[in-house]
Amino acid sequence: MKQHEMLAMILAGGRGSRLKDLTNKVAKPAVSFGGKYRIIDFPLSNCANSGIDVIGVLTQYESVLLNSYASSGRIWGLDTKDSGVYVLPPRERADANLSVYRGTADAISQNIDFIDTYDPEYLLILSGDHIYKMNYDKMLDFHKANKADATIAVIGVPMKEASRFGIMNTDEENRIVEFEEKPEHPKSNLASMGIYIFNWKALRKILVADMKDPDSHHDFGKDVIPVMLNGGKRLFAYEFKGYWKDVGTIDSLWEANMDLLSEANELDLHDDSWIIYTEDATEQPQYIGPDAKVDVAYITQGCDIEGEVTRSVLFTGTNVGHGAKVIDSVLMPGAEVEEGATVTRCIVADGVHIGRNAVVGSADSENILLVAKNVKGEA
C-alpha cells in the first residue's frame, strides 16, 4: 500500500435542522446546491484537487442517501487502487456499546482503527456542510513550516457577527493564544472554519484520553482544542481568503445560491483548474422554449424552460411552464412550476409541483419561503 501522508475525515453526521423540511429525509451534506451539486461535493472535490486520496465520511443522521452517494468514489475520481471514499457510520462493537457519535471528536475516536490502517502522518478534519474551494495541501505546508501540533483554518468575519462563531485569538506569528466559543465581547474576528490539521500520533493520544473522560463533550471546539492549548501545544491559525459559506438556514442557502449569479462571484464554479465534481445526471441539455425569457440565471441540464426566469437558480430536471414566472428563487431538482404560476423569493424543494396559475412567495417578504409540499393549481 502506498503511504498516505495525510488522511481526511469529513464530519457529515449533522441534521441541519434549521434547513427545516429540506433535511427531513436527507442529511445536510446531501442537500443540493448551485444547480447540480450537493454540499458535500465541495469538501470531497477540494480533497481530490488537493491530492488527498483517502477520505472517511462520518455519517449519522438520515444517512441512506448520503451513504450511497458518498461511497461512489468515482464521482470525484477517488476510485484508484490507492484511493477511496469510505463511509463510516457508528457501529456496534464487541468491547463497548457505542451506538452513536457523541460529538465531533468522538466520531474520530470511534474510527481510530480505520485511521490506523493507513498510519498517516497528518489527519485533516473537515466539515461536510460548508461551501468553499480550498487547497488543503497549502494548509499542510503552512502546518509543517510552523512545526505545529495543530493548524486551524480561520476566516475573517465582520466584527459585529464575530460573537456567533468560535473565535481564535492569535499572536503576530499566527500562533493561537486563546480560543473562545461564541464570545460576547470578541477580541478578534478570526472565526474557525471547522477545518483542522493534526499530527495524528499526538491527536490519537488526546482522543484516547477524551473517550474515557466522563465530563467531556467529545467535541473538537469544546474539548480537544482547549486541552491542547492548556497543554502548551503549538496551535496555528491558517487564514483563508476567499468564498466560504455555512448554509445553515433557508435564507443563507438561498443567498449562497444567489451569490452565483453575480458577474464577479468569488466561488467561480466555471474555473476548470479547480473543478467541483458531482454525480453526472443522464439528462439532455437544457431546452429554452420559443416564448421563454431568461435574464440572470444559473440553469443546468435536464431543464425545460417555457416561461420567464429572472435572477434564479434552476437545478437538474426542473420545468417552468408557459407564462409561468420564477423570480429571485431556487428550484431544487425535479421541481415543476406549471403554466401561469408565479414563484417569488422561494426555495422550491426537490420534486415539488407548483400548480397552474398558483402564486407563491412575495417580492417584499422578509424571509425566503421554503415550499416543501405541492401547491394546488387554480383554474
Binding site: G34, Q284, P285, Y287, D291
Partner: protein
C-alpha cells in the same frame, strides 16, 4: 437477457460530413450540444443489456477513443461487459479496399471468440432509439437468417443521400439492398442495422473476402440473398441519418422542436455520454435566449435564437446568434452577428462584424480558427 454482442461502425464511411469530418470520425461528431453521434447506438445497446460492444474505428480516431473510453460512462458492467475500440488498419492506399468487411476480417479472431450467439450491427452515424433486445427476440422468433431495420420515409428524393433502401416483397422479405437513387420520395431507408447469428456473420465475412476484396457486408448479402431468408423490420419513432453537412445541420435544428425531441429522449431510455463535469449555464444581465438547446458550462451574455450551443461556449455581450450550431468551447465576441453557421470547436469569432449564410447553405468555421 440479450445473447448478442454489438458492433458499431464509427469510422470513415461512404458518407462525408464536410468540414467536421476532417477532424474526427463521423461517430464522434458533436450532436445537440452535449452528445456525440455514437452515444446513441452505444446507449441503445447498453439499455438493451448488450454489454459486449465493439466500436470499429479507422483513421483520425483520437477523439473517438477519448470519448468512449472503456465504456464506463455508458452504464456497462465494468467486469462482465466491455467496450472495445477496434482499428481497421488502412492497408490500402486505394480506399475502395478499405471496406467494413476488411476491418471485420482483420479482427475475425476476436469476433469468433465472442461467447454470444448473435451479433447486432448498428451505424455510428444514425440517430434513433431502438430496443435491440426486442429486435433480437423478433429476429429469433421469425426464424430469419438476417433481419434488417428500416425506416419508412417520404422525402428520399431530397434527403438520405447515399443511403441504402430495402427492396422488399409484400411479406417484408428483402429482395435486395439498393442505393437511394433519389427517384422516388417513398422509400424504406435501410438503417444500416443488421441482426444475424455470429456463425453466419463469420461465414459472410470469409465468403466476401474470397469473392472480392472490394466487397462490403451489403454486397455479400445481396450476392447471397437467393440462399438466405432476409427480413425487414420497421423502425418507428425518431430517425435521423447524418450523411452530409446539411443533414447534420437539419437534424440538430429539427430537435429544437420539443415535440420532436421528446421522441428521442424518453426518461426510461437514457442517452449516456462522457461527462465533463462542467458547471451549469450562466445567463448574465442583458442576455436573451429563445428556442435553443444549451449544454452545460456555457456563459451567455448576448442573444441566442434557434440554436444549439455546445459545452463551455461563451457568447459575449451584444452578440446575436441565430440558427447556428456552436460546438464546444467557442467564443463569439462582442456585438458579432451569426446566422446559419456551424462553428467547430475552440474557434473564436472576434474580428468580423457578421457571418451570415443562407439557411439552405449554412456556413462552416473550422476548428481552432480565429476569425
Amino acid at each position: 437477457m440479450a445473447t448478442a454482442f454489438g458492433i458499431i461502425t464509427a469510422g470513415r464511411t461512404r458518407f462525408h460530413v464536410e468540414g467536421l469530418e476532417d477532424y474526427r470520425p463521423i461517430g464522434s461528431i458533436s450532436f445537440l450540444g452535449r452528445y456525440r453521434l455514437i452515444d446513441f447506438p452505444i446507449s441503445n445497446m447498453s439499455n438493451s443489456n448488450i454489454d459486449r460492444i465493439q466500436v470499429y474505428a479507422r483513421s483520425n480516431s483520437r477523439s473517438l477513443v477519448e470519448h468512449v473510453g472503456n465504456g464506463s460512462y455508458y452504464n456497462i458492467n465494468s467486469k462482465r461487459g466491455k467496450l472495445q475500440v477496434l482499428f481497421g488498419e488502412e492497408n490500402s492506399v486505394n480506399d475502395v479496399y478499405n471496406t467494413d468487411i476488411a476491418a471485420y476480417y482483420q479482427n475475425i479472431e476476436i469476433i469468433e471468440r465472442m461467447h454470444q450467439n448473435y451479433v447486432i450491427i448498428a451505424p455510428g452515424y444514425m440517430v434513433y432509439v431502438q430496443d435491440f433486445d426486442a429486435l433480437l427476440k423478433q429476429h429469433i422468433e421469425s426464424g430469419a437468417d438476417i433481419s434488417l431495420l428500416y425506416h419508412k420515409v417520404n422525402d428520399a428524393k431530397t434527403n438520405y443521400r447515399n443511403c441504402n433502401f430495402l427492396d422488399m416483397n409484400r411479406q417484408k422479405g428483402v429482395k435486395s439492398i439498393e442505393v437511394n437513387d433519389a427517384e422516388k420520395d417513398d422509400r424504406n431507408i435501410f438503417m444500416d442495422t443488421f441482426v444475424m447469428s455470429k456463425d453466419l456473420f463469420v461465414k459472410l465475412i470469409r465468403k466476401a473476402r474470397s469473392v472480392s476484396s472490394v466487397f462490403s457486408l451489403v454486397r455479400i448479402i445481396n450476392l447471397e440473398s437467393e440462399d438466405l431468408d432476409i427480413r425487414a423490420i420497421q423502425h418507428k419513432g425518431y430517425f435521423a441519418a447524418i450523411t452530409d453537412f446539411k443533414s447534420y445541420f437539419d437534424a440538430n435544428m429539427n430537435l429544437l422542436n420539443i415535440d420532436v425531441a421528446k421522441q428521442l429522449f424518453e426518461p426510461s431510455w437514457p442517452i449516456y455520454t462522457h461527462t465533463t463535469d462542467s458547471s451549469p449555464v450562466q445567463y448574465f444581465e442583458g442576455a436573451s435566449i429563445k428556442n435553443s438547446v444549451v449544454a452545460n458550462g456555457s456563459l451567455i451574455k448576448g442573444c441566442v435564437e434557434n440554436s444549439v450551443i455546445g459545452r463551455g461556449v461563451i457568447i459575449c455581450k451584444g452578440a446575436v446568434v441565430k440558427n447556428c450550431i456552436i460546438l464546444g468551447h467557442c467564443k463569439i465576441g462582442d456585438g458579432i452577428r451569426l446566422e446559419n453557421q456551424v462553428i467547430d470547436k475552440w474557434a473564436k469569432i472576434q474580428n468580423v462584424d457578421q457571418l451570415i449564410a443562407d439557411p439552405d447553405r449554412p456556413g462552416y468555421i473550422r476548428r481552432d480558427d480565429v476569425i
